[in-house]
Every structure is written in C-alpha cells, then in structure tokens.
C-alpha cells in the first residue's frame, strides 16, 4: 500500500484493450483510456457499445483478449490481488444472494478481502447507516426495494475502502429522489475521501452535471475522451424553445433567426454558440412579441452524444 500512497499517475490506465467473445462477437477493438486520480468520470455509449465489457475486464469479471489494464500503477496481469484491493465494483445487475441478510452480505464481502469479522462488522454498520439501510440490516436482501438493493451494492463495494469505485449504470430504474441522494453521496465520497469514481449511465444530464471528464465509446472504440467542459464547447449550435404569452396565427417577422414554429404560441430557435441572449430579445422586441419562457430543447450532452455515436 505504501507504493500506492506515493503514486501520482492515473487511477486507471487502459491500453490496446480488445475483447472477442467465444461466439465471435468483437466487443472491444482497441480501447485506450486514462482516468486520473480523484476524477469523477463517465464512460458513455449506446447499448452494446462495450461499456460493460470494458468495466467487466477492469473488475475481473470478463477475460480480456488483448491489451493492458493497470489500476493506480498496478498491472492487472502481474499484481492482480493488490490491484483488486483498490477497486470497488457496483454492477448493473443485482448480484447478491437474495436469501442472505443485508448485513451478512456486506460483512461476508469484507471477509473476502481478508478483513477480520469484528472490523468487517464495524465497517458494514458504517456504510449501512450512511446509505440509509441500517433499519433493514437483518432483512433478507430479496425484501428490499430496487433502490435499496442498489444502495446495498454500493455499501458492499465500499466496505474494503477502495480507492477507485466503478459503477455500471447505478441509477437504472431508481426514482428521482433516490437517484439524487445517491449522487450526493458519491460526490461526497469523491470530494472528501478522494475516491476516483468511474460510472456508466444512460442519464446524460447526470454525466453533464456530475462528471469532470467523459469518454464516449461506440462499436468497441473510444470515439471521444475529454473534459465535460471541452466536450460541451464542441457544440456549435443549440436549440431553444420559446413560449409566447399570446398566440400568433399570423407569424411575426423574426428577421435572420432560424425559427421553426411548433404552434401559434411556441417556436424553436437555433442559435450559434456564443450568441448573447440579449440579441434574441432585441429581435423579439422589434417583432413586438412577448415571451413567457425560454428553455433549451434538449440536454446539450445528449445532442453531442447522438452526433458522435451516429458517425
């Protein structure tokens, strides 16, 4: 562990990673990726793009066909046990024994990491309390709601004190309130304890608001790997939805704006990146129309994501 404390390189380094399944399906072609220590990182991609395979290889759940993976400088081929101690994994599917009690699941997992039962109990209690599962500690896991099961998997993944936490679609099927509280907890973990967080999600607005860096994978290849800020700057235009106070059966002249009317009291306007919103209102004032609200048509990252994966 002392080696890790002085290590300042990337938390996760993947080079030339390839995976061909037994049925011949090429899941990963040549994945190269680096995630810095302390990062809150999103790996995005459509279904079947290779996200889960990539994270499965890093977690030890999938055999790789080729390439190198290292965690905090420890090569997964050479230092597999030391590397696994640094990693916590929250998979996409529920993968615990449905008949075991909640606390037993967490304590048992700590045992697999060589943690004595007494210490394992203390740690399990800490995470069950932090994740709001303390009242359910003696309940068989099958009795938990979907959101609670997700939190149980997070508690289980944290019990050995990992430096890197991988979450594969942790908010799938989780209601909004619970999703937000889960994100708050993970943000705290990232900011206060310095845990590097790598996640996949289909909720792109979450990736946009939470993650510092984003990689997009498609057809087994990384098609984009940059900071969230830089990624969003690549957007040249965005579409705004403008709601009007009154209906305009006769369309007013909006000069040079690219406008598409949705109905008599609502239109969409496409604006270039860097356009001051005041300029829009000058045009609206000249046309003598009263605006009641203005909002982006869709999530900005979603627009980029769709562009990139369609290429």
């Amino acid at each position: 562990m002392s080696l890790i404390e002085n290590y300042s390189g990337p938390a996760l380094s993947i080079s030339g990673l390839g995976k061909v399944y037994d049925n011949g399906f090429v899941a990963l072609k040549d994945v190269n990726l680096q995630v810095n220590q302390g990062d809150f990182f999103a790996l995005l991609g459509p279904n079947g793009a290779g996200k889960s395979t990539t994270l499965g290889i890093v977690s030890g759940l999938v055999n790789k066909t080729q390439g190198k993976v290292s965690l905090l400088g420890l090569d997964l081929d050479g230092d597999i046990y030391a590397a696994k101690r640094l990693l916590g994994v929250v998979p996409q599917e529920f993968n615990f024994n449905q008949f075991e009690k909640v606390r037993d699941i967490v304590v048992t997992q700590a045992g697999y990491y060589g943690i004595e039962k007494k210490e394992a109990g203390v740690r399990a209690d800490k995470y069950l309390k932090a994740l709001g599962l303390w009242d359910k500690r003696d309940v068989p896991s099958r009795m938990l709601s979907g959101g609670m099961k997700r939190r149980l998997m997070i508690a289980r993944a944290l019990v050995h004190g990992p430096k890197v936490l991988i979450l594969d679609e942790p908010t799938a099927g989780v209601d909004i309130e619970l999703r937000q509280s889960m994100w708050l907890y993970l943000q705290k973990l990232n900011e206060e304890e310095g845990v590097t967080i790598i996640l996949t999600t289909h909720y792109l607005e979450e990736a946009e608001s939470l993650c510092k860096n984003i990689a997009i994978i498609n057809h087994g290849e990384i098609v984009k790997n940059t900071s969230t800020k830089e990624l969003l700057q690549e957007l040249h235009t965005q579409t705004l939805v403008v709601d009007l106070i009154q209906a305009y059966p006769v369309r007013p002249d909006l000069k040079a704006l690219t406008v598409t009317w949705v109905d008599d009291s609502c239109f969409e306007v496409e604006v270039n990146k860097g356009t001051a919103i005041n300029e829009l209102f000058e045009v609206f004032n000249d046309a003598e129309i009263s605006v009641s609200s203005i909002r982006p048509k869709s999530n900005r990252l979603e627009t980029l994501f769709v562009d990139l994966v369609r290429k």
Binding site: Y21, D22, S59, G60, L61, V62, N63, I80, Y81, A82, K84, R85, L87, V89, P91, E93, F94, N95, F96, N97, Q98, F99, D104, T108, Q109, G111, Y112, Y113, G114, I115, E116, R156
Partner: protein, 259 residues
C-alpha cells in the same frame, strides 16, 4: 507474506462459514432428508429384509450395510452441497462477489470443497446416530475410518464443483447424482459383498471408485473389506489430485463464470 496468508485464511474461513450457514439455514432440505431416507433403508433393508438374509462377510446384514449407507449419505451430500451452492452462486450472479475480490482461485475452490466436506461429515454423523437405533456402531480403526470419510467427501465435493462449473441450468446439477452417483453407490458394495457377483462383474465393479470408499470405510468400522486398503487410498488420493487440477484449470480459464 504472513499478512498475505492471514488474509487468505480469513477469506477461506468466510467462504466456509457462509457455506455452513447456508446448509444449516435450509436444514429441512439438506440435513433432514438423508436422516429420513436412511431410517427407511435401515428399516426395510436392515430389519425386514436383512433378518431373512442372515450374515454377509461373517457379520449381520444390518451391520454390513451400515457403513455403506453412511458413506453413501456422505458422498451424495458432499457432492450436492457444492454443485447446488456454487451453481446457485452462478445463477444469482453472486459468484461475482468472489471474482471481484482479491481471491486466488485455490481459496475459492478449497472454501467450497470444505463446505461440502462439512455437510458430508455432518450428514455422516446424523446417519450414524440414526443407525444407533438399529444396531451397535463399532469402530475398528478410527484413523482409517475418519481418513476415508474425509478423503471421500473431498473427492465428491471436487466432482460437485466441476459439475457446477459446467452446469447451465438447475437440471444439469441433478443429472450426475441421478444417473451416475446413485447407480455407482448401489453397485459399489453398499448392500452386498462383491464376492457374490459373477467373476466378470467382479472385474467390472473394480472400476467403480465408490466400491473402494465403501469398503475402506467398512474396514474402519468393522475390520472387513473386499478390497485392499492400499488400493483404496491410492485411488482416493489419485482421483482427488486429478479433480483438483481439473477444477483449477477450469477456474483459471473462467469456465462457466467469466466470459
């Protein structure tokens, strides 16, 4: 190095205790059935039919079948504990808990195998207690008795583990006990001495590994056996080594658990 060993010892004990907790939690499915089945065997074959058979190898029929029945329970329970538990872990994907942890495959294997051994031995004790209601239980040589039962339960736990690695559905873990283990047990000298078989069937029966286990155990209890002890131990140890290496090879390749 010592810390490394200590961590793996804890991991091994964690798997073992989890396995013991599992079969104790569902004792109605794991420990009760062999007690009931063996009670019926003792009543029907030992008391009712056995009284008409008289002696076998110079001892009463009830005493003759007792070691075989105990061994049959040990073998079946060691096997089915590991095959059903590990397959259930695969089915529920909780095997991933083991795969993400820093566990050498040898620790995973020995943890499950000794879980099977624990259930085999516990069943053996229960069936022995049942037998006490029907006949006297004697111990001719404790060390032979305990070593044969231990090695046999290790061997069949390993076989159960390999079965679980290959199994894709629950039916696959019941095929081997139904179509292989039960016939081999019945033909393995549990109910008769191989001396009663025609000479060519005596030769065929020598290829049945259960024959050696039943006879080794019978020797430990009664001091009589159809086979030599040296052959019994050689076969047991050789098969354990072969199945251990097969299991490790399959685990290292990720057979059935890691695509």
């Amino acid at each position: 190095m010592l810390a490394f060993i200590a961590m793996h010892r804890i991991a091994f004990m964690t798997i073992l205790m989890k396995e013991i907790r599992r079969f104790m939690r569902i004792w109605q499915q794991t420990l009760l059935p062999p007690a009931i089945t063996m009670t019926l065997y003792f009543i029907i074959f030992g008391s009712l039919i056995g009284s008409r058979i008289g002696e076998m190898s110079g001892i009463s029929y009830m005493s003759f079948i007792m070691p075989g029945l105990i061994m049959m329970s040990v073998i079946n329970n060691a096997y089915s504990n590991v095959s059903s538990s590990f397959f259930s872990n695969k089915f529920q994907r909780s095997v991933e808990e083991l795969l993400v942890a820093p566990l050498p495959n040898s620790v995973i294997l020995t943890g499950f195998v000794f879980g099977g051994v624990a259930r085999g031995l516990m069943t053996g004790i229960i069936v022995t207690m049942v037998a006490l209601f029907f006949t006297d239980v004697t111990v001719f040589n404790f060390w032979i008795l305990s070593s044969v039962v231990l090695l046999s339960s290790i061997l069949f736990s390993l076989a159960g583990f390999i079965n679980a690695l290959y199994a894709n559905k629950f039916d696959d873990v019941s095929i081997v006990p139904t179509f292989l283990l039960t016939p081999l047990s019945y033909l393995g000298g549990v109910f008769f001495s191989t001396d009663l078989l025609p000479s060519h069937w005596q030769i065929v029966s020598q290829f049945n590994p259960i024959l050696y286990m039943v006879n080794g155990f019978r020797y430990g209890m009664l001091g009589v056996s159809d086979v030599s002890l040296a052959t019994c131990y050689t076969i047991l140890i050789s098969l354990i080594l072969i199945l251990f290496f097969i299991s490790m090879r399959l685990l290292n390749r990720g057979k059935g658990i890691r695509p």
